[in-house]
Amino acid sequence: MSALEASLSRLLETPGVTGAALVDAVTGLTYCAVGDPSAVGDGVDTAELAALVTDRVGPAGTGGELESLVVTSARRYHVVRTVRRAGDPLLLVAALDRDRTNLALALRQLNGHAEGMLA
Amino acid sequence: MHAHSSATSSAPLVDVLASLRERVMGVSESVLSTADGLLVAADTDTAQPEAIAALAAATLGLGARMAQQADAGSLRDVVIRCGGGQIVVLSVGDRALLSILGDEGVDVAALQRESPAIVEELLALLAADVPS
């Protein structure tokens, strides 16, 4: 297992996480995906959504860099967390079952994972 | 940035220098200078043309002496390679020098392919300098 896969797989230990992926925020390329791929969705679409928010919605508010996005649907949370690094930003994407997830807790753990993602 | 040449208009020379950027991927700037370190024409952005001109003469001079010491035949060019780019200095005829500045991705094959033609074009323009 690659270092990246090992790092990403730790996310699956968070209660409720059904799938996770690391996606290039600029190109939408999926570098790694673990768990249920259909839950996590397409990397290109995720990157486009993040760019749309950054470019169009961000300037209307405080602007600057996007930190995270949460998309809530009937049974699922879809969380996108920007990973800042020297180089183009990445998106840490996680799909969570609403039933099994405390969103605030999951977000905190996700933030923690994002920090140490690329070590 | 255009350099001023005292006697002749440098615009055609600059055009040839600028065309180098179109013909060779990765070339960013170039300077045409005399063998004794004077600026003739330049297509530059951030580099100092006069400084490049002076250094080119010194570089080729040292290169020629090294070639002589190594008994390696006549000098063709000097290539200076750095982490962030490279510089090639070569002769244009026997009185002028061409310094080509590029980033670290310069298309070396294309440069080798295009240099002779560029040198020819520059020589043809410089020949007009010589009073008939």
Binding site: G63, G87 | M25, G84, D107, A110
Partner: protein, 308 residues
């Protein structure tokens, strides 16, 4: 590299595996064949630009080309690894196949980070080669370079490259033209700098009307496709424009002026049009226009204009 039919010539694979050569359009088919053979070595492409594809057991571990920064360039330019560490890493290994691992062992770069950079660079290299257009190729023995630890399937690379080429064509025009186009800031005083992502600011600082998209990639240590995507987005926001194209991104119909080194004053920017693919309920991507190549020119606000 678009998917193409199998090349009959790649069928004669017995005997010496290196030293084959052939015609351009069949590079993707060549790579698929080499994958089946589990070929280890190089495929050198000649063209403008050309490049080298490094294979191990038929998987792509690195692509080097003048068209986009290498792994070394990306790591050094971004400051992730400094010159000293790089040199130290080089001296610690007998051949550069192990350079990546050496850098990780020294703590110069994280293992996961290096995987990301290497993978990203493979795709960027393939894109740059595809943009460069056709040329001859030949296979050769393994050559030294920084290899990613995990190779990428040629099929994946071909599919993603096709997608990228199509995206640029749809949003802007010819990818080869965009690679050579020289962007410059278009001046949007109503978007304060602190509201822009860092990488946009980075490109704005470097875009001077002289550097091409490819040059901007090298100057910033970023990939060619990533830079193109950002430039297209920034153009949509009125932040950059290209000489010879109307500010909205259409090719200009004004007569072309022979370059004399001077940059013409930018034309006043209209309301930015929608260049970004828009999400449409049902999932398919919007953005197709009748001519298929570029979005139509009328103003189409897609978001609150406050702040833009």
């Amino acid at each position: 590299m678009t998917a193409d039919g199998p090349d009959p010539r790649s069928a004669d694979t017995e005997g010496d595996r290196s030293g084959r050569s052939g015609s351009p359009r069949n590079v993707p088919a060549l790579l698929l064949g080499l994958r089946q053979e589990r070929f280890s070595g190089t495929v050198r492409l000649f063209g403008a630009p050309g490049g080298t594809i490094h294979l191990r057991a038929g998987l792509i571990h690195a692509i080097e080309t003048p068209g986009t920064p290498s792994v070394e360039s990306a790591l050094l330019k971004s400051g992730r690894v400094d010159d000293e560490s790089w040199a130290a890493g080089l001296s610690a290994v007998r051949d550069t196949d192990g350079l990546g691992a050496a850098l990780v062992a020294r703590g110069s770069v994280g293992a996961a980070e290096l995987e990301v950079v290497c993978a990203g660079t493979v795709f960027e290299g393939a894109f740059a080669l595809a943009v460069g257009g056709p040329g001859e190729w030949e296979t050769g023995d393994p050559a030294p370079t920084v290899l990613s630890r995990y190779g990428v399937e040629p099929q994946s690379v071909a599919e993603e490259t096709t997608r990228r080429l199509a995206l640029v064509s749809r949003l802007w025009g010819s990818p080869a033209e965009l690679a050579r186009a020289r962007a410059l800031p278009a001046g949007r005083p109503d978007v304060p700098a602190e509201r822009l992502p860092h990488r946009y600011l980075g490109l704005l600082a470097l875009a001077n009307g002289r550097r091409t998209s490819r040059d901007l990639a090298f100057a910033s240590g970023r990939g060619l496709f990533g830079v193109m995507v950002d430039l297209i987005r920034m153009n949509g926001l009125g932040l950059v424009q290209w000489e010879g194209r109307a500010p909205a991104g259409r090719p200009s119909t004004a007569p072309r002026v022979v370059g004399d080194g001077r940059v013409p004053a930018p034309a006043p920017s209209p309301v930015p049009t929608a260049h970004l693919p828009r999400r449409v309920p049902g999932g398919r991507r919007a953005g197709h226009t009748p001519d298929g190549a570029r979005p139509s020119g009328g103003p189409e606000p897609t978001a609150p204009q406050a702040g833009l």
